[in-house]
């Protein structure tokens, strides 16, 4: 143990503890800006400097480990003036249109200026140039005028996601964060995962909003607007309204959406169950008939583009099943339209997602199997919360209401799609049944749960040792798939039968469309919420869902039928690692 004093308060901490953590233990919050608990400290802002007795220069609290016997002071005159000067320097460069900024009220720079009691900016900057806003991407907008170069987006894009779509360019005060060749994120390898928007402390990175288009559709009397919500949204939307992280708000969410004016409120969890039937059948068929193994999941659109760009040779291993969002979209304009006798061209299909990549997915040209654009608009959790706030709807005040039929019913297997490992767990619950015609008794497959980057499990199905792996976060996915690629190359086969990949750390509960200010701990709590809901539901296996049985009876015949293939399955492309554009079809 190491003993030190912080502002004369004694603390005892483990070796390797940073000054920041030690100060917290002593009851002092040292202000930070570039620091984020999920990222390696880079020390770019210098806000967290403190004085250490006997040291010639100030130390960065975020990246300096406490040394035994140190006397640390966090609020000396030198420390205080230095911090204020740094904040004033940042503000001298910053685009300060706070009231109209997307981050107003949730901005870490704004909070810091308040915390440090900044009253004036001494330094005038008359040469402030307006930089071009990059809105080339369908998912993400980048406003360099707001950027404070904390490099968090770079770190998450490079170190955690290993996409490397963003990089520093130029030097000194000209430095900007941009994509390769500065051609815009929409023309880059960016996979639209949106983690950069979650980590950005200010309003420099955010989703491209479709709020206005959705309002227009709702207000158009001629349109029938249906809405679906992804599994993870019910575990995070509450945070936007000040509720405890991990609050489960299913019924309130339905009620609020209904009050916003959606004509039918369904649930993506329904098509999550459907995905399991399609994908599970595919896995079983490939195992039985000696098809391509491992089967790799395809519901995360960030992952799909990542695969198309960096692992195109694995395209034929991906399940051809569409994501639940796109299955829902296709069915909303076919099955539902026919059932309700509404002309499909009058249906507007909206989805609420914890995800920015879903905005990209819904506009892929092949996602039109209904004969129309299957999903018209995707809103992130943050966007739907903004709509609700504008409409004067506070989620906390909502009653619990049910979803509409026939695409609202779901099982526990559907809801855990939102957490890493959930798709695999749900698939195993049904694959067991499809292979043996018997039910898996213990449906809690805990080996694939949790925040470990790469997880493995093996279940014995009548002698068949089914080995699966789960990776979340694209860096982990890259590690796992490098291994699989090696195995396929050297041994002709992989040790795994099935692999689940989610682009975002934590799975969809950690998606790029989640509320601002999240960290890994919060992602984990949301995941736990989904597992709790799973446990509480009457049905926990997708094939038990009565509405799913009904849709096969009424419309799709059976899993992987011709009709199901037409509406619910897709294909993949090879993409350029220069600009992410399609090179050719698989």
């Amino acid at each position: 143990m190491i003993r030190a004093t912080i502002n004369n308060i004694e603390v005892e901490v483990k070796e390797g503890t940073t000054i920041l953590e030690a100060a917290k233990k002593a009851g002092f919050t040292i202000p930070t800006l570039c620091h984020h608990p999920d990222l390696k400290p880079k020390g770019s802002c210098g806000i967290c400097v403190v004085e250490v007795e006997g040291m010639p220069s100030l130390k960065r609290a975020c990246m300096t480990e406490v040394v035994n016997g140190w006397k640390i002071y966090t609020n000396t005159p030198l420390v205080r003036t230095t911090r204020k000067t740094i904040v004033e320097l940042i503000l001298s460069e910053h685009d300060m249109d706070c009231p109209t900024c997307i981050k107003n009220g949730r901005c870490e720079l704004q909070n810091l200026a308040t915390m440090l009691d900044i009253k004036d900016i001494k330094f005038k900057n008359n040469e402030k140039k307006k930089k071009r806003i990059d809105d080339s991407s369908v998912s993400i907008v980048r406003n360099p005028n707001k950027c404070i170069l904390c490099e968090r987006c770079l770190q998450v894009c490079s170190d955690i996601q290993t996409v490397n779509a963003l990089a520093l360019s130029q030097r000194g005060s000209e430095t900007i964060i941009t994509d390769a060749f500065d051609v815009g994120l929409g023309n880059s390898v960016c996979v639209n995962c949106g983690q950069c928007t979650v980590f950005c402390p200010v309003g420099a990175l955010y989703e491209k909003s479709d709020i206005d288009k959705v309002w227009d559709a709702i207000n158009d009397k001629d349109k029938h607007v249906v809405v679906q919500e992804a599994p993870a949204v019910r575990a995070m939307l509450g945070e936007e309204f000040g509720m405890e992280p991990g609050s489960l708000v299913v019924g309130k969410m339905y009620a609020a959406l209904r009050r916003l004016g959606f004509d039918a409120v369904f649930d993506t969890n329904f098509t999550a169950d459907l995905t399991i039937l399609e994908e599970g059948t595919e896995i079983v068929t490939r195992i039985k008939e000696g098809g391509k193994l491992p089967v790799i999941t395809s519901c995360s659109p960030g992952w799909v583009k990542f695969m198309e760009t960096f692992f195109p040779h694995l395209g034929e291993y991906l399940s051809t099943a569409k994501s639940p969002q796109q299955m829902f979209g296709a069915l909303s304009k076919t099955y539902y339209a026919e059932l309700k006798d509404i002309p499909p061209e009058k249906i507007v299909s909206v989805s609420i997602m914890p995800c920015t990549a879903k905005k990209f997915e819904c506009q892929r040209p092949e996602m039109t199997d209904s004969g129309y654009k299957d999903v018209d608009y995707v809103l992130t959790t943050r966007e739907i919360a903004r709509m609700m706030r504008e409409a004067g709807i506070d989620l906390k005040d909502m009653p619990d209401e049910p979803a509409d039929e026939p695409m609202g019913q779901y099982t526990g297997a559907g809801t855990i799609f939102g957490a890493t490992g959930g798709v695999m767990e749900a698939a195993l619950r049904s694959a067991y049944f499809l292979l043996t015609n018997r039910e898996l008794q213990d449906v809690d497959i805990t080996a694939v749960r949790g925040m470990e980057g790469i997880k493995e499990a093996q279940i014995d199905i009548d002698g068949l040792k089914l080995k699966v792996a789960v990776a979340h976060g694209l860096g982990n996915a890259r590690r796992l798939l490098n291994k699989v690629t090696e195995q396929l190359k050297n041994e002709g086969k992989s040790e795994y039968h099935a692999i689940e990949i989610m682009a975002c750390p934590g799975g969809c509960v950690g998606g790029g469309g989640q509320p601002w200010g999240s960290d890994m701990a919060r992602r984990a709590r949301r995941g736990e919420t989904l597992y709790k809901e799973d446990k509480s539901l009457p049905y926990r296996r997708s094939h038990e869902n009565p509405s799913i049985k009904l849709i096969y009876e009424r419309y799709l015949e059976k899993p992987n039928s011709k009709k199901a293939h037409h509406l619910l399955h897709t294909h993949y492309f090879k993409r350029s690692i220069i600009d992410g554009k399609v090179i050719n079809e698989h």
């Binding site: 400097v49 220069s57 003036t81 230095t82 000067t85 740094i86």
Partner: protein, 526 residues
């Protein structure tokens, strides 16, 4: 057998090449053939003769007469007068040429003698000829080390010599080597920092151009001492001739078995590779240099860990400046006690300076530590040009300090200058006469920092940008009184919270300029 009666040493360095040294050399050879003197007079290439800004410079031995500003048209007259008729050509003689002595301090009759340790061979031997280096005692030190000394002996000898890092910070070299030898690791690296970027500094370039083998020998000894087998010379990309010469020297040393496996039949293997920098000043900072060497953007790393513990590719890495390493062979050859015979107690040895600005004889000199600034400017540098008065100097490049006339008697060494809140830094001495506008000087220093800030940390990135705006206003006499306070507010924050020495050092030129020349600034703010 030929008896050569005259040797002409012509300086072939980056500066003289631009002035036409190669053409002058060709003309000399042709002219000598014309008169049938080519057997009696030899023309030899060498590195810098220590004189810069004077066109093509050459020296004729045995008379030791320096000629400067020689152009091709002068050659027939020079050969006819001096070499045929034996009458030195007065109009081209450089009367104020700096005197030089080799280590022995023998007097040869010019202006001011220099004790030459680092520059011993510069301007004497042909840097492109390994045999000349060997004939001058080269590679004796590595032989001694490999056969008579343990790595610990070498480290102890360097420690005993009191050598301090010549890159600017003055950290004790022996101590650094001791850390390196004590750090466990099966693979270690030696990096020579030849990314000389401090404005006004070109000593490393002239060492590399004038005596590249000395650096190789220094790196070999360092490699042996810390048990490394690979060395890198990270060299400024603009230093074309230095790169050419160090690369040739490495190839020649390899051919002689002085680099590679089992050097001189010992168990020690070592090789050196050259990596060109791309022109960022910050890459002279050792951790940014390492990032760049790894192929990344040149951003500094956090310390600790220091490179000595986790440097290049995370391995223990010793980073030393060119001049530091060039001191090593002589220290080993002659011993630490001999070395301590030069300089001061706390700062033994010599320092290589580049003197430039408004001096009579700008150039490269080597002087003992503890030499006063007055001696350097007025004796080595020949005083102020055009009969003007001395106003001030900028010592140590942009990251250095301005000083006024009251500082002329200060003894120049790492320790002493610290007491005056100045720094020896890179050894650049920029001399300014009475006509110099100090606001303008500080302005160009601050523009330099704005341009060279890497952009990683807020204090430096935005601090330099705001400093430039403020000083530009003051220079235009549009400044306000609070601008002076703002200069200090910004540089104080930069000193306290900049990520690396680049930003931290900006406060030195600002505070020193305002200390010695405050009136000039106050006259332009309202």
């Amino acid at each position: 057998m030929n008896i050569v009666r005259n040797h002409i040493l012509i300086s072939i360095d980056a500066g003289t090449i631009m002035a036409g040294a190669r053409a002058v050399e060709d003309a000399l050879v042709k002219e000598l053939i014309k008169y049938g003197l080519d057997k009696e007079v030899s023309v030899l290439e060498t590195g810098s003769l220590g004189i810069t800004g004077r066109g093509v410079v050459l020296v004729v031995y045995p008379e030791g007469i320096y000629y400067a500003n020689v152009i091709v048209k002068d050659v027939p007259e020079l050969v006819e007068e001096h070499l045929l008729k034996g009458r030195p050509l007065k109009r081209l003689i450089l009367t104020e040429a700096p005197k030089r002595t080799v280590i022995t301090k023998e007097k040869t009759g010019l202006l001011k003698e220099q004790p030459r340790i680092v520059l011993k061979n510069c301007g004497f031997i042909n840097p492109e000829n390994i045999d000349e280096y060997i004939a001058a005692g080269g590679y004796e030190a590595i032989a001694k080390v490999l056969h008579n000394m343990s790595p610990e002996d070498v480290v102890n000898e360097v420690k005993a010599s009191g050598l301090m890092g010549r890159g600017g910070a003055g950290f004790p070299t022996g101590l650094k080597w001791e850390f390196a030898i004590k750090t466990p690791g099966d693979e270690k690296f030696v990096i020579c920092n030849a990314d000389e970027g401090e404005p006004g500094t070109f000593k490393d370039r002239l060492i590399l151009e004038g005596d590249p083998h000395k650096l190789i020998e220094g790196m070999l000894i360092a490699g042996y001492a810390i048990k490394a087998n690979t060395g890198f010379v990270y060299i400024r990309g603009e230093y074309g001739l230095s790169i050419e010469r160090i690369e040739k020297a490495i190839a020649d040393a390899r051919a002689y078995g002085l680099l590679g496996k089992n050097i001189l039949d010992s168990n020690f293997s070592f090789d050196i590779f050259v990596k060109k920098g791309a022109g960022a000043y910050v890459c002279g900072e050792e951790t940014a240099l390492i990032e760049s060497l790894e192929g990344k953007r040149g951003h500094p790393r956090n310390k600790p860990p220091f490179p000595i513990n986790a440097g290049l590719w995370g391995k223990p890495t010793l980073v030393n400046n060119v001049e530091t390493l060039a001191n090593i062979p002589e220290i080993i050859r002659n011993g630490a006690d001999w070395y301590r015979g030069y300089g001061t107690d706390k700062c033994p040895g010599t320092k290589v300076y580049t003197i430039l600005g408004h001096v009579q004889t700008p150039g490269l000199i080597e002087a003992e530590m503890g030499t006063t600034l007055k001696e350097i400017i007025f004796e080595y540098g020949g005083g102020i040009k055009d009969g003007k008065a001395f106003k001030g100097a900028l010592i140590g490049g942009a990251a250095g300090a301005f000083i006024g006339p009251e500082m002329l008697d200060v003894k120049m060494d790492f320790v002493n200058l610290r007491e005056y809140a100045a720094a020896l830094g890179s050894g650049a001495i920029l001399v300014m006469n009475e006509d110099t506008d100090m606001v303008d000087m500080l302005k160009s220093v601050l523009h330099f920092f704005k341009h060279e800030s890497c952009g990683h940390c807020v204090p430096c990135r935005l601090g330099t940008a705001r400093l430039v705006e403020i000083i530009d206003n003051i220079a235009l006499s549009r400044g306000k009184k609070e601008d002076i306070d703002n200069l200090f507010d910004i540089t104080n924050a930069m000193k306290a919270a900049s990520f690396c020495p680049l930003g931290q050092s900006v406060s030195l030129p600002v505070s020193s300029a305002l200390k010695y020349f405050r009136d000039e600034f106050m006259a332009r703010v309202f």
